[in-house]
């Protein structure tokens, strides 16, 4: 039986991981390569890098990071943030990432999903979605709207419609981030996650709101998510990945326990 995946997310700016990570071990907490290796050895099922570098002329730094991470870890990892073209995707994949995540660019230019899937295979193309709850309307029947630019720009697109559309265009996986839950550590948006996950044929990674092991349990069961993205919980050394997995295993959620 397929295991539910636990996926740490690392934000990278100008080639350095940004969150103030408190580790006891002797590792450079700003170094994404060291951090990736740490999580690889700690039992992460996959790793997500999110590039928040503001200026586009510093993008090559991320490619260099991806290349170095790929020499060190032997599990899949994906890269998102600032990917706007087929050339951007190719650079990240050739440097050694397993998948690329496209978000705003896919909303603005949906054929990017199609071209990416045709060129590299659907399994490489993750649709990143930032979603905000709004009043239900004719335009937004699900009551969840797609937003871009880190949640600042509402797009007038229904999230459920967009998820299904993106899958039909060739997205092989969806990373679904709730803007309302993100950063609260009060739990994932369960209703939204179940809505999207049960409506598409591809795996859905839930993102935004994780604070306790119970939140992971809820989103992987009631939320019907295939994987859970985590950040602060592990970055601030509140839990180890093993502790999270043992908690889930005790509650009969299938997870990978030996690595």
């Amino acid at each position: 039986m397929l295991s539910k995946r636990i996926i740490p997310c690392l934000d990278v700016k100008d080639g350095r991981t940004t969150k103030g990570i408190k580790f006891k071990n002797n590792i450079d907490i700003g170094n994404p390569v060291d951090m990736a290796r740490f999580y690889y050895e700690a039992g992460a099922d996959e790793i997500v890098f999110y590039d928040i570098t503001a200026s586009s002329d510093r993008r090559e730094i991320m490619i260099e990071v991806v290349y170095r991470v790929a020499q060190e870890i032997f599990i899949p990892f994906s890269v998102g943030g600032g990917i706007r073209s087929l050339a951007d995707m190719r650079a990240v994949l050739l440097a050694g990432a397993e998948k690329v995540s496209i978000n705003s660019a896919a909303v603005l230019e949906p054929k990017l999903i199609q071209e990416g899937a045709r060129s590299f295979g659907s399994q490489c193309i993750v649709l990143g979605m930032d979603v905000k709850q709004v009043a239900q309307s004719e335009k937004i029947p699900s009551g969840y709207e797609v937003v871009i630019n880190g949640g600042r720009t509402p797009m007038g697109l229904d999230a459920l419609w967009w998820a299904q559309e993106a899958v039909s265009l060739g997205a092989g996986e969806i990373c679904l981030n709730s803007i309302d839950a993100d950063g609260t550590q009060a739990g994932y948006e369960l209703y939204l996650t179940r809505l999207i996950s049960t409506a598409v044929s591809v795996p859905v990674i839930a993102s935004g709101g994780a604070g306790t092991p119970a939140h992971l349990y809820e989103v992987l069961t009631r939320g019907a998510a295939d994987a859970a993205l985590i950040a602060s919980m592990v970055h601030y050394n509140l839990y180890t990945i093993r502790e999270l997995k043992e908690y889930l295993n005790q509650r009969r959620v299938k997870v990978r326990l030996s690595w």
Binding site: L2, S3, F74, G96, F120, G172, D226, R256, S258, W259
Partner: protein
């Protein structure tokens, strides 16, 4: 020399890197002559069977693979490379290499526990391989070991004795195969952490006999 066969079916760098981590140097090649001479072959690949077969034929690699297999060269097929070694694939309804008899089938996604909620296809993520027959390439692994999978089709060899490992995603399917000097994994050993590296290491020291 170890050759990784490049037939323009996905990114082969991850296989090469995992071999480097094991201190093994490999060449990535499209040259049939190199494939025929290689001491050991890795046949990876992602993508669709139809395009893959067209590329193999155009590059003359189909004949080279047949020659190497007949000569006893140890061969490791990975993912798509574990499928198109068989005779026929349901994907694109295409005739494949036929190194061993058998066919490639689609996962149904039927969920035996909750029939109303079909399983996700592609089968993507970590899943257990139950090794049902011992083989040198799959020794030294713990029980209930998990590997990383990404696929929508799976190989069904004609003879049950060629099935070395079984995995369940709704239905049970063969996830590790072995026939003479050929072994094949539906999963990605190069993306499966320490246990995946053990499989690769075992393959590197395997003489092609079992």
């Amino acid at each position: 020399m170890i050759a990784i066969i490049d037939y323009q079916a996905g990114n082969l760098a991850s296989v090469k890197r995992s071999l480097q981590a094991l201190k093994a140097e490999a060449v990535v090649t499209q040259d049939p002559a190199v494939v025929v001479r290689a001491a050991r072959l890795i046949f990876p690949g992602v993508g669709a069977a139809g395009q893959a077969m067209a590329n193999l034929k155009r590059l003359g690699l189909d004949q080279a693979l047949h020659q190497a297999f007949a000569a006893g060269t140890p061969i490791l097929g990975i993912c798509l490379g574990a499928q198109i070694i068989l005779e026929y694939s349901e994907e694109n309804q295409v005739h494949c290499l036929g190194l061993i008899p058998g066919r490639v089938q689609a996962l149904t996604g039927i969920n035996p526990e909750v029939p109303g909620e079909p399983l996700k296809i592609p089968h993507m993520g970590w899943n257990e391989v139950d090794f049902v027959r011992p083989h040198p390439v799959f020794q030294g692994l713990p029980d209930q070991v998990e590997f990383y999978f990404v696929h929508s089709y799976y190989p069904v060899p004609a003879q049950a004795q060629w099935v070395l490992g079984i995995t369940t995603h709704g239905e049970q399917f063969p996830s590790a195969l072995g026939a003479g000097n050929l072994v094949a994994t539906q999963f990605h050993p190069e993306k499966s952490g320490r246990f995946g590296l053990i499989v690769l290491q075992n393959f590197l020291s395997w003489d092609g006999k079992c």
